[in-house]
C-alpha cells in the first residue's frame, strides 16, 4: 500500500519526492526520539520506586530492649517478643517479632531467632528434653542452638545481645535467612 503510494508519487512528481521523503523520515525519527526521551523520563522514577525494595543496606536493624533481666530466670529458655524497629502504621501484629532467650549461669545470654534455619517455620522450645523442635520438617536443635538432627543446614540464627541499665537488649529488625543471618 505504502509502496504503491510512493510509486504513484514518484511517477507524478519525481522532484517533489526528494523534498518530501527526507522530511517524513526526519519526522518519524523525531517521533521515535521524543518518545524515547519521554519513556526514559517516566521510567526513572518508576523503576526507582519499584526497585527501592532492593536496597539492602542493613540499616533496618537496631538495638531494642527485651525488658528487665529479672524476667529471664537463670538456666531457662523463654520466649520474648519485641516490636520490630522498622514498621509501618498498618503492620498490625505482624511487626511483633518473637525470639527465644536462653539465660545461662549468671549473666550470660543467648538469643535465638524463632525461624528454623531449614525453611523458616517457628521452632518451639521443649524444656523437658532441652530441644528446639520445628513442626514443619522435623528439624531439632540443642539448647545452645546447635543443630541436633533433621534437614536444617546450620544451627539456629543467633541475635547479638547486650546488657545495659539492667535490661537485656537485642540487635534485631530483619527476617534472618541463610545468607543474611540475624
Amino acid at each position: 500500500m505504502a509502496v504503491k503510494e510512493l510509486e504513484v508519487i514518484s511517477e507524478k512528481a519525481p522532484e517533489r519526492l526528494h523534498i518530501e521523503m527526507p522530511r517524513r523520515a526526519f519526522l518519524l525519527k523525531l517521533g521515535f526520539l521524543l518518545n524515547g526521551v519521554a519513556a526514559t523520563m517516566v521510567s526513572v522514577p518508576l523503576l526507582g520506586y519499584l526497585l527501592s525494595a532492593f536496597r539492602n543496606d542493613g540499616g533496618f536493624t537496631s538495638w531494642i530492649t527485651l525488658g528487665s533481666l529479672n524476667s529471664f530466670p537463670e538456666n531457662q529458655t523463654r520466649m520474648a517478643k519485641f516490636r520490630n524497629p522498622y514498621t509501618r502504621p498498618w503492620d498490625g501484629q505482624t511487626a511483633d517479632i518473637p525470639c527465644w532467650v536462653r539465660r545461662m549461669e549468671g549473666g550470660n545470654f543467648q538469643i535465638f531467632a524463632i525461624n528454623c534455619t531449614h525453611l523458616g517455620c517457628p521452632v518451639r522450645w521443649f524444656q523437658e528434653s532441652h530441644l528446639f523442635m520445628c513442626p514443619c520438617h522435623g528439624g531439632a536443635f540443642y539448647e545452645d542452638g546447635s543443630h541436633a538432627s533433621g534437614p536444617p543446614p546450620r544451627g539456629l540464627y543467633e541475635y547479638k545481645c547486650k546488657i545495659e541499665d539492667g535490661q537485656l537488649w537485642i540487635h534485631g529488625g530483619q527476617l534472618p535467612t541463610l545468607n543474611q543471618p540475624a
Binding site: 509501618r88 505482624t94 511483633d96 525461624n115 527476617l175
Partner: protein, 502 residues
C-alpha cells in the same frame, strides 16, 4: 415495535460488526472430530477463570489488604457480610476447579499431540497460563492472611534467601521490607488482583487467537503422521470437506461440561463452605504447624523428603528445569505421530508424573515427616504397654513420654511418625544398642546424652527392651556366649512373663 428494535439492532450491527465478529470467532469452522468429550477442558478452565473474576471483584469490595486488618475483614466476610461466606467459598472452590481442570486440559493436549507443528505457540502460551494460574493459587493463599499464609511467606523467603549473593536482596524485594509485614501483603495483593490477572487476560486472548488462526487440533488418528510440508494443506482440506462451525455444531459438549462445572463449584461452596482463615497472623503465636493448600502439598512433601545435601541446589534449579522442559516439549517432538495409542512414552510420562505428584500430595495430607508437637501431652501411652511391667520399666515409659520421644516415635499407633515406629524395637536393637542410640543419637535423631541422667537412660532402655511381640524374640548380641544367650532368652522380667502369657 419489534420492527423498530430490529432496526436498532441492525444499526448497531452495521456500526460495530457484532455478527461478523461472532461469525469469525464462535462461528469458525473446526474439524468435525474435535467436537469430542476430550475437548471440553479448555473452555471449562476459562469458565472457572470467569467465576474467579466475578467473585474476586465482589470480595475486593470488602477485603482490606492491610496486614493489620486483613484477618478481621475475612472474618467480617465470613460472618457479617450477607453471602460473604458463600462468595469466599465460591472463590476458593473456583480456584480448586480451575487448577484441576487446567491439569486435565494440559494432560489431554499433551496426550493428543496438540502441541506439535504448527501449534507450538498455543502450547507455550498455555504453559505461561499454567504458571500464571499456579501464581494466582499461591498469591491467593497469601491473601487469606492467616497463620498458614504468614509462615508460608516465611518458607518462600527462606527458599529465596538461599540464593547465593543476591539472596538477601531478593528476600527484601519479595517482602517489600526487612520482615513479613504490611508491604508484603500489599504486593501480593497487587500481584493477585492486577498483575497476574491482567497477564492472564492478555495471554488467554493470544491463546484463543491461536486456536482461531492455527486451528484446533483434529482428533488424532493412529498412523496419521504430522509432516511440516503437508500438514497445513491437509488440515485446511479437512476443514473444507467436513468442518463444522464451532457454534452451534461443536459447542454442545463444552456447554454441558461448563454447566456441570459451575454447578459443581456452587455445590462444593455451599456444602464445604469457605476455607479459613485459620489462626491470626501473629508471629508470636507459634503453636502452629503451617501447611500449604492442597495443590502445593506435593511441594511440601518433596522439600521434606529430599536428602539435605541436595536441597539448596534442587530448590534453586528444579523450577527452571521443569519450566524449561515444559517450554521445550513442542520442539523435542515437533512432528510425527499424534495419537496416544502410538506414543507409549508420552502416556507413561503422564501416568508417572500424576502418580508421583499424587503420592507426594497424599503424603502431604498427613505429613509423616513432621513431629507431632503435642503428642507428649495429648497422646497417652497405651495401657497394654504398661501392663505387667516392672516399676523400672514403667518409670522408663514415663521418661519416654516426658522427654517428648513420643513426638517423633509412635507406640501402639500413638505419636509421631518422624522416627521409626517403636512397637517392636526390641527385636531390632539390643539393650546396648538402645543405650548407644539414646545417648548419641544419629543423623535424624538428637543425642540425648546431656539431657538424660544415667538412671533415666537405664529406665528408658529397660522399657524399650520390652517392646516386642510375644511371638518374636528380642534381639540379642551374637558375640555373647550361647549360654548367656539362652539365659537372656528366658523370660526373666515380669513384662516378658506377661507377654509370654498373652
Amino acid at each position: 415495535m419489534i420492527e423498530r428494535l430490529r432496526k436498532i439492532a441492525i444499526w448497531i450491527d452495521d456500526r460495530v460488526y457484532v455478527s461478523k465478529i461472532f461469525a469469525a470467532t464462535a462461528g469458525h469452522h473446526v474439524p468435525r472430530t474435535s467436537g469430542s468429550w476430550f475437548y471440553v477442558f479448555g473452555s471449562g478452565t476459562l469458565l472457572c477463570f470467569m467465576v474467579q473474576i466475578v467473585t474476586g471483584i465482589c470480595l475486593a469490595l470488602v477485603y482490606v489488604p492491610s496486614s493489620g486488618q486483613a484477618y478481621t475483614s475475612l472474618e467480617y466476610l465470613n460472618y457479617q457480610q450477607q453471602f460473604g461466606w458463600f462468595l469466599r467459598a465460591m472463590h476458593n472452590w473456583g480456584s480448586n476447579f480451575m487448577v484441576a481442570i487446567m491439569l486435565a486440559h494440559l494432560a489431554q493436549v499433551f496426550l493428543f499431540g496438540a502441541f506439535k507443528y504448527p501449534r507450538e505457540m498455543t502450547w507455550i502460551s498455555g504453559v505461561v497460563l499454567l504458571l500464571c494460574t499456579l501464581g494466582m493459587a499461591f498469591t491467593g493463599q497469601v491473601l487469606r492472611f492467616d497463620q498458614d499464609a504468614y509462615w508460608g511467606l516465611g518458607i518462600g523467603a527462606a527458599m529465596a534467601g538461599r540464593v547465593p549473593v543476591m539472596g538477601p536482596a531478593i528476600v527484601h524485594m519479595m517482602l517489600g521490607g526487612p520482615i513479613i509485614a504490611g508491604e508484603t501483603l500489599s504486593r501480593f495483593f497487587t500481584l493477585h488482583v492486577f498483575v497476574i490477572p491482567g497477564s492472564i487476560l492478555a495471554i488467554v486472548s493470544l491463546h484463543l487467537r491461536l486456536v482461531l488462526t492455527k486451528g484446533i487440533n483434529e482428533y488424532p488418528v493412529p498412523g496419521k503422521l504430522v509432516k511440516k510440508e503437508t500438514y497445513t494443506e491437509e488440515y485446511e482440506a479437512e476443514i473444507k470437506q467436513s468442518g463444522v462451525p464451532f457454534f452451534p455444531k461443536a459447542i454442545s459438549k463444552d456447554l454441558i461440561f461448563s454447566g456441570l462445572v459451575l454447578m459443581g463449584i456452587v455445590f462444593c461452596a455451599a456444602y464445604f463452605g469457605p476455607a479459613g482463615p485459620h489462626g491470626i497472623p501473629d508471629p508470636t503465636q507459634i503453636n502452629t504447624a503451617p501447611k500449604p493448600d492442597f495443590f502445593f502439598l506435593w511441594l511440601y512433601g518433596v522439600l521434606s523428603l529430599m536428602p539435605d545435601y541436595m536441597e539448596t541446589v534442587v530448590m534453586l534449579t528444579a523450577p527452571f528445569i521443569v519450566i524449561g522442559i515444559l517450554f521445550a516439549v513442542p520442539f523435542i517432538s515437533n512432528t510425527g505421530e499424534k495419537s496416544p495409542r502410538r506414543r507409549p512414552v508420552a502416556v507413561l510420562s503422564v501416568l508417572f508424573i500424576f502418580i508421583v505428584l499424587g503420592a507426594f500430595n497424599y503424603l502431604g495430607t498427613y505429613a509423616p515427616w513432621s513431629p507431632k508437637m503435642e503428642a507428649w501431652t495429648s497422646a497417652a501411652t497405651p495401657t497394654n504397654y504398661l501392663e505387667g511391667r516392672s516399676p523400672l520399666e514403667r518409670q522408663g515409659a514415663l521418661v519416654f513420654h516426658n522427654k517428648q520421644c513420643i513426638n517423633c516415635h509412635s507406640i501402639g499407633g500413638e505419636g509421631g511418625l518422624r522416627g521409626p515406629v517403636l512397637d517392636s524395637v526390641a527385636t531390632r536393637l539390643t539393650g546396648d544398642q538402645l543405650v548407644r542410640q539414646v545417648i548419641q543419637g544419629s543423623g535424624n535423631m538428637p543425642a540425648y546424652g546431656k539431657n538424660l541422667s544415667p538412671p533415666e537412660v537405664a529406665a528408658l532402655v529397660a522399657f524399650m527392651s520390652t517392646l516386642h511381640k510375644p511371638t518374636e524374640a528380642p534381639a540379642r548380641d551374637s558375640t555373647r556366649s550361647a549360654q548367656a544367650a539362652s539365659e537372656i532368652k528366658q523370660p526373666n522380667t515380669t513384662a516378658e512373663m506377661a507377654n509370654a502369657k498373652r
